[in-house]
Symmetry: none
């Protein structure tokens, strides 16, 4: 007997058709009754599949009209997921490493609670300065637990996304996270790093990202120069 439910099967089929471009943005999916006929399901089952597609943002429905394909949002932005790279679009983002990844003990004062396993493993520490159109915009300080990351301190992070490296070489995926935002006055050090005008504030972000590995969270502190750019988020 087939293990996966029928509505799930239809969901996967339609999802694949949407992401591979069989149905494009604005296209109407076949009507519910057509889908019933083609895939030999009843309407509640078909609607269950379509509801899932709505929930995941692939389509929206309009009564009397049909199910309309929604283009996936590409500029996900720093506020929803992943790193700073996807917030701007990688094209214009350059990265300078101020502190190459080194192994350290966790700081005494740390804005987040960490687990026992994370604590006893020590952490990988790195600092980066990131440029948009050759002007400094982000300064970030990162702490990553030193759990099963062979050779990470030898890798080059120049102009590469930290998250891409973790995903490709260590199979670590970001699942979600939490963050706090404030507007603060910059220190002298920060003002120089980010080339800020006197009196201009910075956006301060503390974030914890959870991953597919248990007890493996990524902790970042980010200072953002919002003179010319704003942080963008979709949800």
């Amino acid at each position: 007997m087939n293990n996966i439910p029928q509505y799930r099967r239809l969901y996967e089929i339609l999802r694949k058709h949407i992401v591979t471009g069989v149905y494009k943005e604005g296209d109407l999916l076949p009507s519910e009754n057509e889908l019933c006929a083609v895939y030999e399901m009843t309407r509640p089952t078909v609607r269950h599949a379509l509801d899932s597609l709505v929930k995941d943002g692939f389509i929206f429905k309009k009564q009397g009209k049909g199910s309309i394909v929604r283009k996936p949002s590409k500029t996900i932005g720093i506020l929803s997921i992943a790193g700073t790279a996807s917030a701007i679009g990688v094209r214009h983002l350059k990265t300078q490493i101020l502190q190459k990844p080194i192994v350290k003990i966790w700081p005494e004062i740390f804005p987040f609670e960490i687990s026992e396993l994370e604590k006893e493993s020590g952490c990988i520490y790195m600092e980066r300065l990131r440029f948009v159109d050759d002007e400094p915009v982000f300064y970030d300080v990162n702490h990553i637990p030193n759990i099963n990351l062979p050779r990470i301190t030898q890798r080059s992070f120049e102009n590469r996304s930290l998250f891409d490296i973790l995903r490709e070489h260590y199979q670590i995926e970001i699942l979600g996270g939490e963050q706090q935002l404030k507007a603060v006055k910059p220190t002298v050090h920060l003002r120089k790093l980010l080339n800020l005008k006197p009196g201009h504030p910075v956006l301060y972000i503390e974030r914890k990202l959870t991953t597919n590995k248990e007890n493996f969270n990524i902790y970042s502190t980010i200072y953002f120069n919002s003179e010319k750019h704003a942080i963008f988020g979709k949800f």
Copy 2:
């Protein structure tokens, strides 16, 4: 004939019971069959209501066990969805209306693009100042299209969530949105309103929220005093 659908009615009842603490975190809701009996609906209708509660993060379900309340862990926060009320927890948030809802034309200079229908309908304008522990924290300016909102300028918004009123009385649901964040120097007016220390910056947010009604978006400009509080977001 009752205009709102039954599953919606049950959703509102259970949602209210959860946020007012009738059911607390970890509590089991009555079983689907019990809800059927009490509210005289069939199980598909009850399940539709429960599905909506799952989608909005109020409960999660476990097969064989029941529907479990999820409230306090999911302080959704201003960055992900809904309004400022859910960012803090309604308990400590008081609202003072600086400008009662009035009908206006849309401003000439507006940070977002608006549709033709929105433009020709005019907008409802309101300003609010919101307090946490009796200290001013949020100042927000809101523009809502004046489309099919009978008597909205007569309603009281004191200490009530704008979104709750839109949802309960006008069946308007927030589906998602986009926003931009900056750290800025406050104007003199803002410094007085938010009782800011000299030299302290504010967090500036521009947001557009999309709803289940076409051509009906909510536009807000928010100034946030981040001296004592931070804006929190989960994703």
